[in-house]
Amino acid sequence: MSDARTEIFERIRRAVARPAERTAQTSMGTLVPGKHSAVPADGIGPPSLPEDVIRQSLPSTNLVASYVERARAVGLFPQEVQAAELSRHLVDLLAEQGAKRVLVEAAMLTDDLAAAAKQRDVELVPLSGGDPSAEEVPDVDTTLYACNAAITGVDWAVAETGSLIVRSGASGRRSASLIPPVHIAVVYADQILADLVDLFAALTEHQEGESETRTSSAPTSASGHASASASASMETPESASSSAPPATSAPAQIHVITGPSKTADIEGVLVTGVHGPGKVHVVVVRE
């Protein structure tokens, strides 16, 4: 199909009146990852994005409070807890939902949580086997479909929109946040970004990391937290971020979750839980 490729590019070049040899040479100007607001001196350069236009102001100066307010507005169920109460709170939530069999992202499955669940007679199923050499790793598919709920971490949250961000990877949260009918997301307060703008800045930086192989610890809090939440060390996300290797490549997929699965296709009536979880609880852990 290279014919089609050549011909389509030929037609596009003719349309925009640019000779063939110049397409490849034309600099995309500001397409330097992360530098999104400068106007280039050379090349074509996309329009600059003034921060004061693309950024929205938040309901409160407190990021957690802003996040909780917006998350509630889009139909998520956010709650704040102290780190020490996390396990007990998660198990309470599960009991409330009547969840008997619960998928847990391996990194989230602390001894503390396991003990609390045992007391309440809730079966916790680790999604990814902690030990990759173990033969015990359960069949992801069967597990996913058999569980009533899933507990996962997130990579970021965005206060502006109330969104949760999950990346694909070894954590399995791509499917875990999608398939069981109830999703419980654990968000650490310092994972909350103010605006979508901050999310895309963080993601662009990951892309930069891919091409330039950054080795130093992540300069922004955002990318540090991504590693932190993927790490098993739940008590001390800060130390985890410095010990975990920085993300060196972009994940296959990134999903921004802004509400439960919903539709209004039938006469505009809002129905949740179409294909994804109908209920999404967000547990915001304060330090």
Partner: protein, 494 residues
């Protein structure tokens, strides 16, 4: 307005099989309109849906800070990208391939179908799940895959209902805006054999259960693309139900179909478009799921497709790019212009007989079409400008429609009678005495002394060769006195 002069179709509901994509002939526009206007259930459903969507959009945009600037920015970014599309598309393809994806190019819908069928054949696919995508409607992929022995299941709830009811979508965002719950309930019972229920929650659960099983067994996933990021080679998909996420997560192979115009320069540009897309379309701050796809499953991923393909479709778009209608390619398919349009709100999407209905459909359909079957669409507009007012990327749809009409005149697409009529009008409007004489005559003809007592406001039928004036609309009766007369009388009072 009287409807009696329009032919009333016996069964206004689409008949099963009639609208299957491969076989259907487009219904002539006046017939489509007559059918829509005669359908009371459709009228009620459209009224409810479009007025609700208009309200939630207005509410959402009023809460967005710098909304006007953001819309300007979105328009500028899109226009800039189109103006340099060769550069951005090439960069996108390079990055997408570097991420491990496979890029394909299709000059025509036929080539796109062939590419997708080849991918399905190579992987011996048997069961294909589809997320909602207008581009796949445009190339009519379902029929081609089915002919190749691949079962295709639409997984968006609305599209699923369209599929089981042998219908076609009537709106680019809310495909079953034309259906009420009774029609849907009947389709479920008839096609899925489930117990009759009209409850939207129960209907949705039935669909979920049915489709869950399909998602476990499927081996090919097809989606559209909302944005393709040149900087990173990322595909961005905006969905609400989760079927889009399942489609890009469950099957071994994911194929995304995009028009060449879907490219945007940078990831950061998404912060502009995502703030506008859902607000304009459904009034949400964001769609429930925004998925960014960089590439296939990675070594330590627990899930995800092993192969990701993107099929980049031209099918007439490069012609639009070369024309003065280039701005029409900015469209991000939010659907706001459909909901805003007084014509769409009355006749719904099917009457247009095109894949893309409503204001944006009237503009791009005749431009994309290889045949002249859609020449009447640019005429189907009062040019009221509501579509331009709500467009998040500032497409001057009425302005472009006028240019399209002008092109049609110069290409002699309009009828001889039409041409003659306008020549006469031009003559009459070009001299004060001629104009006044015409006014006098029109007033006499349309408000004859013997009718004055009835004080009718509209004339439903003009006899003689001018009957075309009232074939599709009623003619407003001229005022008793012209503005000039009133003005002059007013001056005398002073």
């Amino acid at each position: 307005m009287s409807e009696h002069k329009l032919p009333i179709i016996q069964d206004p509901r689409p008949q099963a099989g009639r609208h299957t994509h491969d076989s259907d002939e487009r219904l002539p526009f006046p017939e489509g309109v007559a059918r829509a206007l005669a359908d009371e259930r459709l009228q009620a459903a459209l009224y409810k849906a479009t007025s609700a969507k208009r309200a939630v959009r207005a509410e959402a945009l009023s809460k967005l800070e710098h909304a006007a600037e953001l819309r300007d920015l979105a328009a500028t970014i899109k226009q800039h990208t189109l103006d340099h599309l060769d550069v951005y598309l090439e960069r996108f393809v390079d990055r997408f391939e570097a991420n491990g994806g496979h890029a394909h190019f299709a000059r025509t819908a036929e080539e796109a179908r062939q590419i997708i069928c080849d991918i399905a054949a190579k992987h011996q696919s048997r069961l294909c799940v589809k997320a909602k995508s207008m581009a796949t409607e445009e190339i009519e992929i379902n029929g081609a895959l089915q002919a190749a022995g691949v079962e295709v299941v639409e997984t968006d709830l609305g599209e699923f209902i369209v599929q089981i009811d042998h219908d076609r979508p009537s709106h680019i965002v809310t495909p079953i805006i034309h259906k009420d719950r009774r029609t849907i309930a009947e389709a479920f019972t008839r096609e899925l054999g489930t117990a009759y229920t009209e409850d939207p929650v129960e209907l949705t659960q039935l669909a979920r259960t049915h489709l869950r099983d399909i998602f476990r067994r499927c081996d090919l996933g097809i989606t559209g693309v909302n944005f393709a990021v040149a900087e990173t080679g990322t595909l961005c998909l905006c969905t609400n139900e989760g079927n889009g996420r399942l489609t890009v997560t469950r099957p071994r192979v994911h194929v995304a179909l995009m028009g060449i115009e879907k490219v945007i320069p940078r990831l950061m540009d998404l912060s502009v478009f995502l703030k506008l897309l859902a607000r304009s379309g459904t009034g949400q701050p964001m769609t429930c799921y925004t998925s960014m796809i960089h590439g296939p499953r990675q070594a330590d991923d627990l899930d995800g497709p092993e192969e990701v393909h993107v099929v980049i479709l031209d099918a007439g778009r490069s012609d639009i790019l070369a024309s003065e209608h280039r701005a029409g390619l900015r469209c991000i398919r939010c659907g706001a212009c459909l909901n805003a349009c007084p014509v769409f709100s009355k006749i719904g999407g099917h009457a247009y007989g095109s894949v893309y209905p409503g204001p944006i459909g009237k503009l791009i359909t005749p431009l994309l079409a290889e045949v002249e079957a859609y020449d009447d669409l640019p005429q189907v507009s009062s040019l009221c400008g509501l579509c331009r007012e709500v467009c998040p990327v500032g497409i001057d749809i009425p302005g472009l429609l006028v240019r399209l009409r002008r092109d049609q005149v110069s290409q002699r697409v309009v009828t001889r009678g039409h041409r003659l009529g306008f020549r006469v009008a031009t003559f009459l409007l070009n001299g004060r005495l001629r104009y006044q004489a015409a006014q006098w005559f029109a007033r006499l003809a349309l408000r004859p002394p013997w009718r004055r007592a009835r004080s009718a406001n509209y004339v439903e039928r003009v006899p003689g060769p001018l009957h075309t004036l009232t074939d599709r609309r009623d003619l407003r009766v001229p005022a008793k006195k012209s503005f000039r007369t009133i003005w002059e009388e007013g001056l005398e009072h002073e």
